[in-house]
């Protein structure tokens, strides 16, 4: 089942590759955009539900019940469920679209990695997924200054003997901007654990993504960049970007 899904993804990717004049970099970009378009309704629903949950945090009834049943978790849960029902909010509404999207994103990632087959065993494995298009092998992995099948650390540009991980930096920056733009302003105080968690993830995740981009095939890094930009665009379309988040925050009084 999963293999059939991956085969489908690989064949679509190769079809795009053939369509754009055998440029694998362009194929990755278009394929990522295509998958994002297909999953757009799910993403929009996730954003909408996420907004509803955020609005709920500012609801007076919600805040009151948090104080009132601070020491009675069971009663608090009952009251919360009642309020969810009353306001028509699904607490799992933002999780479900993410769960549905997850296999698609992993499939997209695997399709890219498998199509970049660089060793005999990888190519033999790829041959089992390709229904047509043997004439496209070997794929043209060169895009701009990159060999998409190699990690940037193996071919990165160097100035005066120092390697400049350009792609990893682009991934790091777009990941940071994406995280910042999408992070809702914290409504809690200094002790808000969720806000602190979000802040920490917003700091570590871009560094982590940059490290992955530096260490893994640059085709994957290209996917990260396009994916980040597509996510920013999706949020912009739904009006959910908070550009002020990019500016330094003033200390709250």
């Amino acid at each position: 089942m999963w293999d059939s899904f991956i085969s489908l993804m690989i064949n679509i990717l190769l079809y795009i590759y053939s369509f754009v004049g055998q440029d694998f970099g362009l194929a990755i970009i278009l394929f990522t955009i295509l998958v994002r378009l297909v999953t757009y309704p799910l993403n929009a629903q996730q954003v909408k539900q996420s907004q509803a949950m955020q609005d709920l945090q500012e609801n007076k009834k919600w805040q009151a019940m948090q104080k009132k049943y601070k020491n009675d978790k069971e009663k608090l849960a009952q009251e919360q469920m009642a309020l969810y029902k009353e306001l028509g909010v699904n607490p799992f509404g933002s999780c479900l679209p993410t769960l549905v999207q997850f296999p698609i994103i992993i499939g997209l990632y695997q399709a890219i990695i498998r199509a970049l087959a660089v060793s005999p065993l990888q190519l033999l494995n790829l041959s089992k997924h390709i229904s047509n298009g043997a004439d496209l092998i070997p794929l043209n992995n060169h895009f701009l200054w990159m060999d998409l099948s190699l990690p940037e650390k193996d071919f990165g540009l160097s100035i005066a003997g120092y390697g400049i991980p350009i792609l990893a930096l682009i991934v790091l920056i777009t990941s940071y901007v994406q995280t910042k733009l999408m992070t809702p302003p914290s409504t809690g105080g200094a002790g808000d654990q969720s806000a602190q968690m979000t802040k920490a993830m917003g700091m570590y995740m871009p560094i982590f993504m940059g490290w992955l981009a530096y260490s893994f095939s640059s085709g994957l890094a290209l996917y990260f960049v396009v994916s980040n930009l597509a996510t920013i665009l999706q949020y912009a379309i739904t009006g959910r970007l908070d550009w002020s988040n990019l500016l330094p925050q003033r200390a709250s009084k």
Binding site: A200, F208, F216
Partner: protein
Amino acid sequence: MKTKRFSLIIFTLLFITIALSACASGSRVMASGWAGITTDDETAYLAYNTHVYAIDLANGNLRWRYPSEPDPKITFYAPPALTEDGQLIIGGYDNILYSLNPLNGQVNWTFEGAEGRYVGGPLVTEHGIFVPSTDYRVYALGFNGQPLRDPFPTEAEIWATPGSDSECECVYVASMDHRVYAINAKTGSLSWVTNDLGGALVGTPALSEDRQLYISTFAEEMVALNADNGAELWRFTAQDWVWGGPALGDDTIYFGDLSGAFFALDRQSGVQKWQTQTGSAIVDSPLVTEEAIYLTAENGLLVSVTPEGVNRWQKEFEGNTYSGPVAAGDLILVSTSQPEALLVAFDSNGVQKWTFSDAGE
């Protein structure tokens, strides 16, 4: 609370790392290719994963291995080749070509001029050593490891061991750019090159005595060429990609494809004589002897058939068998992906003689 938060972040990052690395390419632990084997009168030389092994043909005992301890930066999949002056030439995945002493595994010299890995084996001729690289070039080296001239360029990676032709002193290079190049072994100049044959070429071209050159393609075809000018003589369509090069019998060529189909064709006309099905991908060339044909299939099969296509016997292994069988005197050698049975020797009747294991070495 801080500890809890930190743990959650670490868990998330670890999860992403594992999810990505589980299916990412370039793992150094997993094998990237399959074994290459060559033999002399007394020893089999097996290149697989982190070592080149010298194995005593009499009993399957290890004589030496290089390097003595595994170095994850060095892996070998290209078949080694022996020179007449007593060198074992082997290309590594670390872009280095090694000359080893076949008696003890000591390094004679290395060549580090290539920018790509070695997947195809070197071809040894009286004019020098011709080494295909994944940097799209064929390097011509003297027997001291020094380049004889500038490398010969193609337009894609070269995974096939080149074929040789002593009559015209040619080297035939099958490239993944879908073309066969005939290079003058003395001068390095191009004698002829084919048009795009329709698919990548990774099998070693086979040359017949009447100067026909047979080449397998990923376009599911076996193509016969005139070895003097590269003109196409005939094409035969198989059922899937044809990865391994063909082997020649008297008037027959034998090869398998990735669907598991194994074919015998008339050499002159390309007309099919018979076909049999193994049920699993045939990745390398078969072995043709006077009495039988031997072939391996990916799912761990060694099959022996008569020249008429009648099954003689078959053996099953637990690991995968990608490399084709190799003859060594009266023995048929087969390499598997299992560390407990890296090389297994049979006689022509299918009786197992010994097994070489690297488990726990």
